[in-house]
């Protein structure tokens, strides 16, 4: 293993004030969860209040912005400069595709989970199983990045070694889910968003101001540092970060965003299509507040890293004193520490990272538990499952995946941002084509969907086995001729795990369309459901596509 596991430059020791801040933050999440759980049992049945655009937008933002956005993004920009921009571009552009092509249509289809949509649209339990499996896999890969982020940042506050720190933070997260059950979810997400954005922006402004980098607009002023920051920032596509990889990564992240089950679920439940659209606009705005500032934080961090270690900025990227992967991952906290800000302030920045990681992990784990408890257990294994059994299976899933993620995070294969990008590739290759074709081409049928998903899964697995696993599995490394090598270099070059969707997604589209055309068309009822999702008439609040189809007897409008 070449990736050092701890951030050497980080001041790892127990600090009282930051610990109190983190403790108060965690306690407030639990209290909010508990208060809303109590309120639920009393007033839920009569309450008819919708969740507003702004609150929903904040929930989208918090659910979305993980340790990967809070820490990983700045870390990638800090370590890889221009290449890191692919992440900012990909993670925001995806929302436009979602907004234009999927959000309102998904809302009209009106299902519960992503595998529910796939199963009902393609009339296939097998499709449900594949979608549920993919959902689980995404949650797992994605959460490893979060666990690592929580562990690294927790070290600054509590001073434990990385492994016990990851164990502690994941135990808290799983315990939080079990206790509050996420029931105050939307409220908690709004609170988590406020904490993380305040912490991050405060960090950028104070570091920029105190070090004389910037005054009112660090998001733009950091540009003045470019000439000093070494070539990674001013000259794109040098070293291993080729133009192809940049495009592949950005494309993967765009389609991945639209295929992530925990992002899509928010759109199944909004008040109306109009709310769906406006929530997305607000959500995007809240996300951009962080993304505009992340490159500035990365630039400040790199410059401070060079200054503190007394090296030139080029030496930050290569040579003996270069920034390690782990240091890059905590660059946001490091920058605040290097700027010699008070520990409570650095602690606040660290707490923001934890809020981001917990919000996203909670969302991911709940998607995973529903994939198992609802889609696999109740729909496929035991149709007579009682509600209590589903709760039990769901809780067991959360504990199980929590343990698996914790162990994997001890020695993860890549940077936080890259790990998360693997999950995006998977979502973009397997699920996005199903959602998109399922909603926009009524002739997509079961055979096409099954063939498409299988090809997508195979492509993703071979890419991971080819490029990532040789670093871990001895005999694969021998075959590849070195632990950093890929088994088939040409495959690794064109289908890198991080950008597998550039080749994968069009291929899955072609396979799905080809097989659908070669096999019988789907039943008329399914086609009507698809048409209804594009009806120009606003749908009443009590209706979903299936209801309208069964009520109207067939003359559903076919335009959008």
């Amino acid at each position: 293993m070449t990736v050092p596991i701890q951030a050497e430059a980080l001041d790892i020791s127990f600090k009282l004030l930051p610990a109190i801040i983190v403790f108060l933050m965690m306690a407030s999440f639990l209290i909010i969860g508990f208060v809303f759980k109590v309120a639920d049992t009393e007033g839920m049945w009569v309450a008819g209040r919708g969740i507003g655009n702004i609150e929903n937008g904040m929930a989208i933002g918090a659910n979305w912005m993980s340790a990967a956005s809070y820490l990983g993004l700045a870390g990638l920009v800090a370590l890889a400069g221009f290449y890191g921009l692919a992440f900012i571009v990909g993670w925001t552009t995806g929302y436009f595709v979602l907004l234009i092509f999927l959000a309102a249509q998904m809302r009209r289809f009106g299902k519960y989970t992503a595998p529910d949509f796939v199963a009902d649209r393609f009339n296939s339990p097998m499709a449900r199983a594949l979608a549920a499996f993919t959902t689980l896999l995404i949650a797992y890969v994605y959460s490893v990045g979060q666990a690592r982020g929580m562990g690294l940042v927790g070290q600054y506050v509590f001073g434990l070694d990385i492994i016990p720190m990851i164990v502690v933070m994941m135990t808290i997260t799983v315990g939080y889910l079990a206790l509050s059950g996420m029931l105050g979810a939307t409220k908690n997400m709004a609170v988590q968003y406020v904490i993380l954005i305040v912490a991050f922006l405060a960090g950028v402004y104070v570091v920029g101001f105190s070090q004389g980098y910037s005054t009112v607009l660090p998001q733009i002023e950091y540009g003045a540092l470019f000439s000093e920051l070494g070539r990674q920032f001013s000259e794109p596509f040098i070293g291993g970060n080729s133009y192809y990889l940049w495009v592949a990564t950005a494309f993967s992240l765009i389609v991945g965003t639209c295929g992530l089950p925990h992002v899509l679920v928010r759109f199944y439940t909004v008040e109306s299509e109009r709310t769906a659209r406006w929530s997305t606009v607000w959500g995007l705005f809240f996300i951009l507040l962080l993304y505009w500032a992340a490159p500035a934080m990365a630039a400040f961090g790199v410059d401070l890293f060079a200054a503190v270690n007394g090296i030139s900025s080029d030496a930050v990227f290569s040579g003996e004193q270069a920034m390690s992967g782990a240091e890059g991952d905590v660059i946001v906290v490091l920058a605040a520490q290097f700027a010699e800000l008070p520990t409570w302030f650095v602690g606040l920045v660290a707490a923001g990272a934890m809020a981001a990681a917990i919000a996203t992990t909670a969302g991911l784990f709940i998607t995973a538990s529903s994939a198992v408890a609802h889609d696999i257990y109740a729909e496929l294994i035991n149709p007579d499952a009682t509600q209590r059994q589903q709760v039990l299976i769901g809780r067991a899933t959360i504990v199980g995946i929590g343990a698996l993620v914790t162990v994997t995070a001890f020695n993860p294969p890549a940077l936080i941002g890259e790990l998360v990008a693997y999950a995006f590739s998977l979502a973009g290759v397997v699920l996005f084509p199903m959602f998109f074709l399922g909603l926009w081409w009524e002739n997509t049928n079961r055979q096409g969907a099954l063939a498409g998903m299988t090809v997508g899964l195979l492509l993703w697995f071979t890419s991971i086995i080819n490029s990532v696993l040789p670093a871990y599995v001895g005999f694969l490394a021998d075959v590849a001729g070195g632990s950093g090598q890929a088994l088939v270099p040409i495959y690794a070059q064109y289908v890198p795990p991080i950008g597998a969707a550039l080749v994968g997604t069009p291929l899955v589209f072609l396979v799905t369309i080809g097989v659908s055309m070669a096999t019988p068309e789907p039943p008329l009822e399914t086609k009507r459901m698809v048409r209804q999702c594009h009806s120009p008439e606003p749908m009443g609040q009590q209706q979903s596509a299936e209801n309208i189809v069964s009520d109207s007897g067939g003359d559903a409008p076919a335009d959008d």
Binding site: M182, T367, L392
Partner: protein, 153 residues
């Protein structure tokens, strides 16, 4: 003695075991029967996702068709049995934590007898799956008639 009898049901065999007893009591005392299905919020959360809890909170249970059908089927079993014996019946669907909702419903609607099935689990299975009946006993002052369901297998 009894004018309003509550039979909570989740549609399981265990719950159905109590139906005959409830209907018989209702007929004997000329009481009204309340068939209550509780949508377990924890089950919605872990099974369908937190967003679906938001959906119920927004008062949109009506558009969650599968869930609603399941609930109506469960109370329907009670309603059919009651109709056979000319017993007046009221079907109700609510959401929350089952034993709390049952206890609250009993208070609000002036229930004077609750009839419930129980699966008589012991040991680990009881610790894991718990018993709604047991918890209801502890959270209400209304008399509870527990009918044990003995699995034939």
């Amino acid at each position: 003695m009894y004018s309003d009898i509550l039979i909570p049901t989740d549609g399981s065999e265990t719950a159905k075991a109590a139906v005959d007893h409830a209907v018989d009591h209702a007929q004997r005392y000329g009481a009204r029967l309340h068939a209550l299905y509780v949508v377990d919020i924890d089950a919605v959360n872990f099974g369908l996702g937190t967003e679906q809890v938001d959906r119920i909170r927004q008062g949109k249970f009506g558009e969650m068709t599968e869930l609603k059908e399941r609930a109506e089927a469960a109370t329907g079993v009670v309603a059919d049995a009651a109709a056979e014996h000319d017993v007046e019946v009221r079907e109700e669907i609510r959401a929350g934590t089952p034993h709390d909702v049952i206890a609250d419903y009993a208070d609000d609607e002036g229930i004077d007898l609750i009839v419930m099935g129980s699966h008589g689990r012991t040991g680990v299975r009881r610790a894991l799956l718990g018993s709604v009946t047991e918890r209801t006993l502890r959270s209400t002052h209304v008399p509870v008639l527990v009918v044990d369901y003995l699995d034939e297998d």
